[in-house]
Symmetry: C2
Subunit: 494 residues, 2 copies
């Protein structure tokens, strides 16, 4: 039997090696589409990606995979982890009927365009039939996956295996109280930091971003930095590329987009090379991925120590900024209510997520209908942010996610923040003079610790276990909230 | 039966649609590798391309394709042409044993590196075992394909279906006499044109190249121009990209590389959109492809009329060139003996090809051994060019082709020149005031005629038929030689 087990394992490894490589090709097409592709090639590109997706889907549901999984035994811990990923993917993909999967792909690819039109025209009615259809299809898919369990949890587990909607809801309820209280305190403070003013040349922003990405450990010999409308990171293994964007009046947009994507990219680049070409060579979940982008961007990148160094770099690149280092720290960390999630500060960000989580859970449960979403959104926004939504593009039409069927994805952003909070607490214990290092732009110890504690493991452990092992304690929202309260009470003198 | 035929035809179309799309993806990976890919990603990229090649090979040899081809009848002329391509590909790919195909892929991918090392060190001995192995494998492949026929013709037909090595040899023998005579006359002329001197900024060269590509009809909304070490064109349909290179002391390198690749790209862009996603949406052969790149580059791009306009553009971009338009025309068309094929002028170029054709035919026939190639090369070079080869990198090590197994490819370059000669004759008949148009940089009628006469048909007709239909006469070497003799006798006053 042992030889048979080994044969099955070798067959799975070989199969996954090809699939992983083809998955990288798909990622590269996505990158090209957002950075290099001529605009006239869009229709052809969608056919090219559909062709490759057909190949990938056939590989993921290959009946031989089912037979091998029956026969196989894992040779070691890494092998067991590989089989966990393969088994999960095989089950997931064989449970959803091919017709339904194809219909979802077809509808969501059109839906994104409809959503974009609706957002541009602030026209909710234009989007509603599409949204209702996407929700219906995703509910059908969830029913096929859940096999009697929670629909929402079935979707969530694609992005964050090992956690339930109930667990997230309980955690978010605890977070919401403290975040709303912090928000009130900070916004009521007598001292409010001034924003950075002025215009900052595009070349200078990109030069500085590139250098900051390298300071954070991004290996440009196995990556590259380009421009895109929406910054993203793409690829695994030896080819992990990031993008950023430039607004001449807001250099923080370019810089912190770059640092955020650098966190994602360093996770992929940091995975043990022995795992390359296997399912372990990919960040283990969206939440853990986001923990890396957030800790790079926020806990490290927006710290007083690091912004002190960055202030010097900015002055070197652009000349006088009209503010000293402490004012610069305040400008980087200004807390302001706003409609838009992607522009939110650290205090408000999770409040944006929580309302989306509650709303999408209700949509998938069937407790909220698409037609009632706008009222529900606007009521909740007024309650949590104290402001009335002025138009749909500032409200329920602002995010692309639901149009492309990404229900169950939003909470992973906040989970990433929570995990980042835990990791920062552990990192400070591991590197006692961290601030002194950050103050001279030295990220080596911090990113080295993250690589050793989190990144190198890739998909070896389950998401929550990945963080628990790195921290030496069970993750919870406590460290993040403690960090936010301490940082912003200090900064705002409240 | 009719329904069954239709079903089989529809199944083939659907199969080819996906294969064509995946072929585009492969092309895009190749483009990325030469233009954008981080250098550290090379090993992973070769795995990604091998994975995609595995998928494509399985599709090309899919047994269902054999069954459909048994049952199918073509609905119309385009359908018949599609089936001709599919049948040829299926036969070709099923005749070569999978083991042999894999071994060729493995050996040639390493061989290119070995060749590059050997060329860099001028070390023939380093390359010989590899070359012998590649020849042996390609002979085995040719034997599987030829089924008792000529080995060389079996390889040639991959690149140029419908012509034999004997036919090419007879044509080349006729060409060689007149080309050697022309070369002697020109090199003995009292008046020799002066070269262009000076340095020309990179940005200016690229700006001008871009504008010239558009003047020649390249649609940048469905393409792009980037830099690469070796210029190439890549892709079909709505995404056809070209590359060029810049040498600051030789702006003709950048400009004429761009015009050459523009010819290839316009062929792909010019194919009837109704053929997209079928095997017809690709240039029909290497020879016909090269006819387009050559007529854009040489007959049109190096004409007195067009260089007159180009001279004005150069002066506008770079200021005084130190020569008037007529001197500029001479500088563009200087005839000089040289070792390197890719740097050869119009008079010498085909002589380079002819010796390669004779040598590779002898290698594949088994009449010449790899170990005897250097002597054979150097003897032939001395006979045709009147110069002794000074080092292997100027001799048998200069081209990549044989290292990657491209035996049977070289003659298509000269066939392209021959076809370009025929097309230019027909074009002059069709557009009587062509020179007046070229003199004002107006390529619309010329490229419009080429699009209508050649490009739009894609793979509809066989290569030779494609040219014959466009010209209204059977193609031969005569028009090319007449053109070369007239042009260079006039330019050199001989």
């Amino acid at each position: 039997m042992s030889i048979q087990h080994n044969d099955a394992f070798a067959a799975i490894l070989e199969h996954e090696r090809t699939s992983w490589s083809l998955g990288q090709v798909m990622g590269r097409l996505g990158w090209d589409q957002e950075t290099m592709m001529p605009r006239g090639a869009a229709v052809q590109r969608s056919e090219e990606m559909a062709a490759l997706e057909t190949v990938l889907h056939a590989r993921r549901t290959d009946p031989r995979l089912g037979e091998w999984l029956e026969a196989v035994e894992a040779p070691d811990a890494a092998g067991a982890a590989i089989l966990r990923h393969v088994r999960r993917s095989y089950q997931r993909n064989t449970r959803v009927p091919a017709d339904l999967a194809a219909e979802i792909a077809r509808v969501t690819s059109v839906a994104q365009g409809t959503w974009a039109e609706a957002r541009a025209r602030d026209d909710v009615a234009h989007f509603l039939p599409t949204l209702a259809r996407v929700i219906d299809l995703r509910r059908q898919e969830a029913a096929a996956l859940a096999q009697g369990g929670s629909l929402y949890d079935a979707l969530l587990s694609d992005y964050e295996p090992g956690i339930t909607g109930d667990e997230i809801a309980a955690m978010f309820a605890r977070m919401r109280v403290r975040l709303v209280a912090l928000r009130e305190k900070v916004l009521g403070a007598a001292h409010q930091p001034a924003p950075l003013r002025g215009e900052y040349g595009r070349e200078g922003q990109l030069r500085l971003s590139r250098s900051v990405a390298e300071v954070f450990g991004y290996d440009l010999s196995k990556g590259r930095l380009d421009l895109a409308v929406h910054p993203f990171s793409s690829g695994s293994g030896a080819d992990v590329r990031i993008t950023t964007r430039v607004a001449e009046t807001d250099p923080f947009n370019c810089l912190y987009s770059t640092i955020h994507e650098t966190g994602h990219a360093c996770y992929e680049q940091g995975i043990d090379a022995a795992y390359h070409f296997t399912p372990l060579a990919e960040g283990v979940s969206m939440g853990v991925h986001e923990s890396q982008s957030r800790i790079y961007e926020n806990q490290l990148g927006r710290s007083r120590a690091f912004t002190g160094w960055l202030h010097g770099q900015m002055v070197h690149e652009f000349g006088d900024l009209g503010m000293e280092a402490e004012g610069f720290y305040g400008a980087v960390n200004r807390v302001q209510p706003g409609y838009i999630r992607t522009e939110a500060d650290e205090v408000h960000y999770n409040l944006h997520i929580m309302m989306r989580f509650d709303l999408e859970r209700a949509l998938i449960a069937g407790d909220l209908q698409a037609g009632d979403l706008e009222v529900a959104w606007n009521d909740r926004f007024a309650a949590d942010f104290g402001v009335a939504v002025d138009r749909p593009s500032h409200g329920m039409l602002q995010d692309v996610h639901w149009s492309v069927g990404l229900m169950g994805y939003f909470p992973t952003y906040s989970l990433g923040n929570v995990y980042a909070g835990c990791l920062m607490k552990a990192l400070r214990d591991a590197v006692p003079d961290l601030d002194a290092q950050l103050a001279r732009g030295d990220l080596a110890a911090a990113t080295g610790w993250l690589r050793a504690a989190v990144q190198r493991h890739g998909g070896l452990y389950e998401p929550r276990e990945t963080i628990a092992r790195a921290c030496g304690f069970e993750p919870s929202e406590g460290p993040l909230l403690d960090y936010l309260e301490a940082k912003f009470s200090d900064l705002y003198g409240v």
